[in-house]
Every structure is written in structure tokens, then in C-alpha cells.
């Protein structure tokens, strides 16, 4: 509807503009067309000029000068000079038509001056007390014979003209509106249809002048939907295919992993063989992670994994992932150093617990993959305090549940951003790789140049970390740690943070 209003405004503007333009144009044309007329003053000018060329000659007669004769010839006009008092013609041009009288009464003169003499339109000029009558060819001029106007008519003319113009304008606008609304009524469904086309399936009634347009829109809509459907189907099929493949790989891989694990621990085997079994086991673990990543990746990418959002204590999620990591590190090759900003208790964010845990797990797994000989890992949690570090009353209920022993503690809840930094002192990544990690679009998860010094890739696992951060409205940055290893910084928005304040 907004568009329609704009259209109407525009149309009205164009209309006004055209009316003004037309008016101006007409005035100009009128002036141009009557320019000559104005100059000669409708033939009266000629009469005066001829009078001036009528000269006395030899004391008794009158003679038309050469120039006067030329004027008459050019105008194809005749002239008579009527004497004052007698009404007799005391001079006339040579070409006087025979039907022209040579004597005029006062009434004849008045009549001749106002109108015609024998159908010849006339103009007059006075020569002394005498009157020169110039007779023009019959088709040269129209003469207005009753040239009086009502006084009020002239007096009120400006108002009258304005009123007339106003009425004209109203009539034009009325005609325009009737036509436009009729037109808009038939255009509106089409316009609405086009506007809705990007969002939903559209069906416009195909009738009236614009039925062709409506049917084209309907076809376009149908085509769009079917393409969208096909694309979704394809994506779904792709994700399902990946899920299917990863499902089918899991069972055989279980056996590879299981037997490799058994062989590795079989003391009856030579060391060399057990080492080889270990390689098989480690590689099959990598394959397992890869399958999990691939599956999750495609589900996230094709939005087949709905976020199960809830209030999650991110610190607990990280602790659990870290504890799992340490628990599975039987040889204790990856000592983990944990540091959390002093006083931070719970870092509640609105997120999917499983996915967040998965992100942390992926970061830690990535460290293990790239550093098979072990390295030191530091996990740090900090809050980037928001400006509105304020109390929130809604946590009051929980406070009361705390043990009696903790009565000397109060909570202060703050909002802001929370960052988790996981760094290691092992194999790092060079600038090239970091750049690639930063810029790789999701669908290009295995860059060919992505190999680090050890020939390992910081691949899909980290891209999933980024994906998970992004679906939570956060960011994931990858960098070179201070100790030359690899670092990941995950920044998330805090719902609120509980800070413990010990009262002295």
C-alpha cells in the first residue's frame, strides 16, 4: 500500500505540472499567433499611415505620395476622404470599386466606422476635421460590430477566470482519480503478489486487464516454490545421505577400533606390532571424530539440527568437556591448566548445551590431533564486562536456597560478553593457515593447503567450532598462542553472570 500511495502522489504531481505547463504553452502560442495583429492594430495603423501620406498639392487638390500609393497597393485596399460637414468624398484612391458611395451621411459614417462598407471591412483615421476611410479586401478582417461588454463582467474577470480554472482542475482530478482507482484496484493484487513473492507462495486472481500479468506472477511463484522445494529436498537428501553413511561406517569402525585397542594392549605381541596397532587405533579415533564432525556439520549447515536452547552455565559445560578430556587422557600427556576470572561463579548463556560442549570438545580434540606427543593446554575464562553491569532481581529465589553457611555471600549478576580462550604450547599454525581458517566458507572444509608442519589439518572440527559459535551469536577466533602453539578464542554473549562476593 505504501508503494501505491507513493504512486498516487507522483501521478498527482505530474498532473499538476502538466496543467501548468499546458497553460503556459497556450499563452505563448496565443501571443505568437496574434503578434502581427497587435502590430498593425487590426488595420487601423494602416489608415493612419495612409492619412499621413495624403499631401496637399498645387494649393487646391490632395495627392497621395508614392509611399502611400505603395501601401495601398500592398494592402490591396482603397481609400476615400470624407469632408467634414458636407459628407462628400473630396479625395479617393484610383482603385475605388464602383459600388462605393461618394457621399456619406453621419449614420453612414458611424456604420462604416463600426462595421463594413458594402462588405468591405474598413478602418478610419482623421485628417484634420476630415475622415479617411480605408477599405480592405473583403476577406482581410473580421470586424466586431457590437463591441460593448458588461462592466461587471470585465471587473470580475480575474475572479471568474480563477474559478473556471479551479473547476477545470477539479474535473480533471476527478476524472484522474476515478480512472486511477479503477486501475489500482486491478493492479493492487498484482503488486501485492509481487511483494509477497520472495516470502511465500502467491496466487493472484487472473482476471481483468492485467490477467496476463497475474498469470505470469503465479507461474513465477510456482517455479520459485518448486525450486526452493527441490533445493531443500536436495539439501535434506545430502544431509540424510551423510547421516546414513556415517551411521553405516560406525559399526565397522567400532571393530577396527576395538580390535586395534585389544592388540595394542596384548603383551604377547612384539612391541613393534603393538605400536602399529596403536597407530590404527589413533587413526580410527580420528576417523570417528571426522564422521561425527561431518554429520554435525551437515546438519548445522542445512539447519536440520534445531538448537535446543536453554539457560546453560557455560563454565560447567567447559569444565565437563575439560574433565572428559583429562579423563580420557590416560597417559597424562596433555596437562590442563584451568583459570577462571577471580570470583566468576556461573556464566549463564542462552544456548544449546550439547553443541557448546561439542565446540569445547572439538577444540581440545584438535589439540590432541596436532600434538600426538603431548603438550600443555591452558583454559581461561574471562568476562568482558558490559556497560550495564547491574543487579538482577530474578535470581533472588535461588539465593535463598543456598546453604546457611553461605549467608555471608551475595550475588551480583552482570551481563556482557564471555570469552573462553584455549591455548597450547604445541604445534601452531602459520599466518597462512590462520587466514584460511578465518576465511574458509563452511562448504570448503578441506582446503588443500591446510596442512601444518606435521601434515595435519586444522579442518572441519574447528569450522564446526566456528559454526556453533555463530549459531549462538558469538564468534570464534583462531590465533598463534604466546608460546607458539595454537589458540582459540570463543566469545559468547552472556545472559547473565553470577559473581560471588565474599563478605569480609
Amino acid at each position: 500500500m505504501k508503494h501505491t500511495l507513493r504512486l498516487i502522489r507522483r501521478f498527482v504531481f505530474i498532473l499538476m505540472f502538466s496543467v501548468i505547463l499546458l497553460f503556459a504553452l497556450n499563452v505563448i502560442l496565443f501571443i505568437a499567433a496574434t503578434y502581427d495583429e497587435t502590430n498593425a492594430r487590426g488595420g487601423w495603423q494602416w489608415a493612419e499611415e495612409v492619412t499621413e501620406e495624403l499631401l496637399s498639392s498645387d494649393g487646391n487638390g490632395l495627392k497621395l505620395s508614392q509611399k502611400g500609393a505603395e501601401i495601398l497597393e500592398e494592402l490591396d485596399a482603397w481609400a476615400v476622404l470624407v469632408a467634414d460637414g458636407t459628407g462628400d468624398v473630396i479625395w479617393h484612391s484610383d482603385n475605388l470599386p464602383p459600388e462605393i458611395p461618394l457621399h456619406y451621411s453621419a449614420a453612414d459614417i458611424s456604420w462604416g466606422t463600426r462595421g463594413y462598407i458594402k462588405d468591405y471591412p474598413t478602418t478610419t483615421a482623421s485628417k484634420g476635421k476630415d475622415l479617411l476611410i480605408l477599405g480592405h479586401p473583403k476577406t482581410r478582417y473580421w470586424k466586431q460590430m457590437w463591441n460593448t461588454w458588461d462592466y461587471d463582467l470585465i471587473k470580475n474577470a480575474p475572479g471568474t477566470i480563477l474559478k473556471a480554472a479551479g473547476v477545470n482542475l477539479l474535473v480533471i482530478i476527478f476524472i484522474y482519480m476515478v480512472f486511477t482507482f479503477g486501475f489500482l484496484r486491478s493492479v493492487k493484487p498484482v503488486v501485492d503478489g509481487i511483494e509477497r513473492l520472495p516470502e511465500e507462495e502467491v496466487h493472484v486472481r487472473e482476471r481483468g486487464q492485467l490477467s496476463g500479468l497475474a498469470s505470469a506472477i503465479n507461474q513465477a511463484s510456482e517455479k520459485l516454490r518448486s525450486q526452493e522445494h527441490a533445493l531443500k529436498k536436495k539439501e535434506r537428501a545430502q544431509a540424510n545421505w551423510i547421516a546414513g553413511v556415517s551411521h553405516d561406517i560406525r559399526t565397522p569402525l567400532s571393530m577396527v577400533m576395538g580390535y586395534a585397542g585389544e592388540l595394542e594392549e596384548n603383551r604377547a605381541l612384539p612391541d613393534e606390532a603393538r605400536k602399529q596397532a596403536q597407530v590404527i587405533r589413533l587413526q580410527s579415533v580420528r576417523m570417528k571424530n571426522l564422521i561425527n564432525d561431518l554429520n554435525l556439520y551437515s546438519r548445522l549447515e542445512y539447519t536440520m539440527q534445531p538448537l535446543k536452547r536453554s539457560k546453560v552455565d557455560f563454565a560447567a559445560v567447559v569444565r565437563l568437556a575439560a574433565a572428559d578430556f583429562i579423563n580420557s587422557d590416560l597417559e597424562q600427556k596433555y596437562p590442563v591448566e584451568w583459570s577462571m576470572e577471580e570470583g566468576l561463579a556461573a556464566c549463564v548463556i542462552d544456548g544449546d548445551k550439547e553443541l557448546l560442549g561439542r565446540a569445547v570438545n572439538n577444540i581440545l580434540t584438535n589439540v590432541r590431533v596436532h600434538n600426538p606427543d603431548g603438550c600443555r593446554i591452558t583454559i581461561k575464562m574471562e568476562k568482558e564486562k558490559g556497560k550495564d553491569g547491574k543487579r538482577k532481581g530474578e535470581r533472588g529465589k535461588d539465593e535463598k536456597r543456598t546453604d546457611e553457611k553461605e549467608k555471608d555471600e551475595t550475588r551480583r549478576d552482570e551481563t556482557g560478553r564471555l570469552s573462553l580462550i584455549i591455548e597450547d604450547n604445541g604445534t601452531g599454525a602459520d599466518q597462512e593457515q590462520l587466514k584460511q581458517l578465518k576465511n574458509t566458507p563452511h562448504y570448503m572444509m578441506c582446503g588443500r593447503n591446510g596442512s601444518s608442519e606435521r601434515g595435519e589439518r586444522h579442518g572441519m572440527g574447528l569450522l564446526i567450532v566456528r559454526q556453533i559459535a555463530e549459531v549462538h551469536g558469538g564468534t570464534a577466533e583462531f590465533f598463534q598462542s604466546q608460546e607458539g602453539g595454537f589458540g582459540v578464542k570463543l566469545t559468547l554473549t552472556l545472559e547473565h553472570i553470577a559473581v560471588m562476593i565474599e563478605k569480609a
Binding site: H247, A345, E399
Partner: protein
Amino acid sequence: MSNDYLKQKRLLLVDDEEELLHMVEMILRKDGYTELRTAGSTEEAFRIFREWKPELAVLDVMLPDGDGFSLFSRMRRESDLPVLFLTARGEDEDRFKGWDMGADDYMVKPFLPRELTSRILAILRRSYKNENPVVRLAQSSIDFERAEVQKGEERLSLTAKEYELLTALYRNAGRIVTIDQLCEAAWGDNPYGYENSLMAHIRRIREKIEENPSKPVSLLTVKGLGYKLITEETL
């Protein structure tokens, strides 16, 4: 003192892959389990379940004549034996379904032998802890049935919270249990803000189970993350 009594439990393994069953059976036998039976279908599994009365079942979700979830509910109608789902279906929906139905654990293939054995042991411990109530630690022993600690000649009783905490730690003996998990075990669903309280309880537990509470050998702190209980069997 060991898990011997747990390793004598009757374990039923159900999977449609014969090879995998074979491998799991071998892994468990090597780990010391003796009473093992396998089934390749829900019908077979249910028959064995009725006749043999297993004390723990490892179930696959996809079976040739039905799915593990419905087999699980059929079994649960007759007994509340602990169940571990071991499946290739890793999607969250499946996992949550497993948990929601009351499964004791849910493992996605592929898995490492050690992962499987430790999870089975954890379930057995949790389910049958009262049968062997005395857990030996380096300098004391915990009697879960009586909720007591025996240290030398001394018998010290455990408070309810201490009991809950020790249970949670014992179930995962040798593994880190995070602060949050411990708080949840002791204080329930909304466990934020009990960290200091937890520290106090841990201190009191140490006073009971350790010779020198400031130099603990059985209940270890993993800085920032949680605690770990070292029992004789995990050594």
C-alpha cells in the same frame, strides 16, 4: 578388594552384527567378566532376558526384528535392570530418547574397548553398590550401606550431603567429576552458587577419609575443574 563381585554379574549383549557381538564379548571377557550371553534379535534377547535374568544389558537400537527402545521398554516392564545403549545412531534425538526412557547410559559407535568397559563398570557400581558396600581407599574405607567411614579404629558417620558427594565420586572413581556435577548430585537441578559450600563439604569428607586432610591421597583436587576419588580398585 576389587570389582570381582561386579564382574560376576550376568551381562546380556544385543546387536545385529555378529562380528561386533563377538568383539564386545571378547573385550568383556578379557576385562574379567564371565557371565556373558549374546543375542542378535529382540525376540532372542527377550527370551534370554526371561530365562536367564541378566543383571545388565547392552542394547543396539537397530535390530532386525524391531528396535532397541521397544525391547528396552518391554524389559523394563518386568524388571529394572540397568541398560546401556550402544548404537550407531548418534543423532541427538535418539540420544535424548534413550535418556528419557531411563537408560543408564548411551554410547555411540565407534568406541574404544576401554571406554565401554569403564562405562559398564560405572553402571554396575551404581546399580549394585549396596551389595558390596565397603569401598577401600588408601587410608580408610567407605561403607555405603551404613553411610560410615572406617579409618583405623575410628568409625565416622557421613552426613547426607557427604554421602551423596562420595557416591557421585565413587561412581566415577579414578575420573574427574566436575564441580558442577558434584553440586548437582548434592543440591539438585539448579546447582549454581554452591561452589564454596562444596569446598566445605569436601574438606569435611577429607577429614574423615584422609590421614592428613591437607595432603589428600584419596580425594584429589583438580584445580578449577573438580575432584577425583582414588579407590584401591582404580589404582
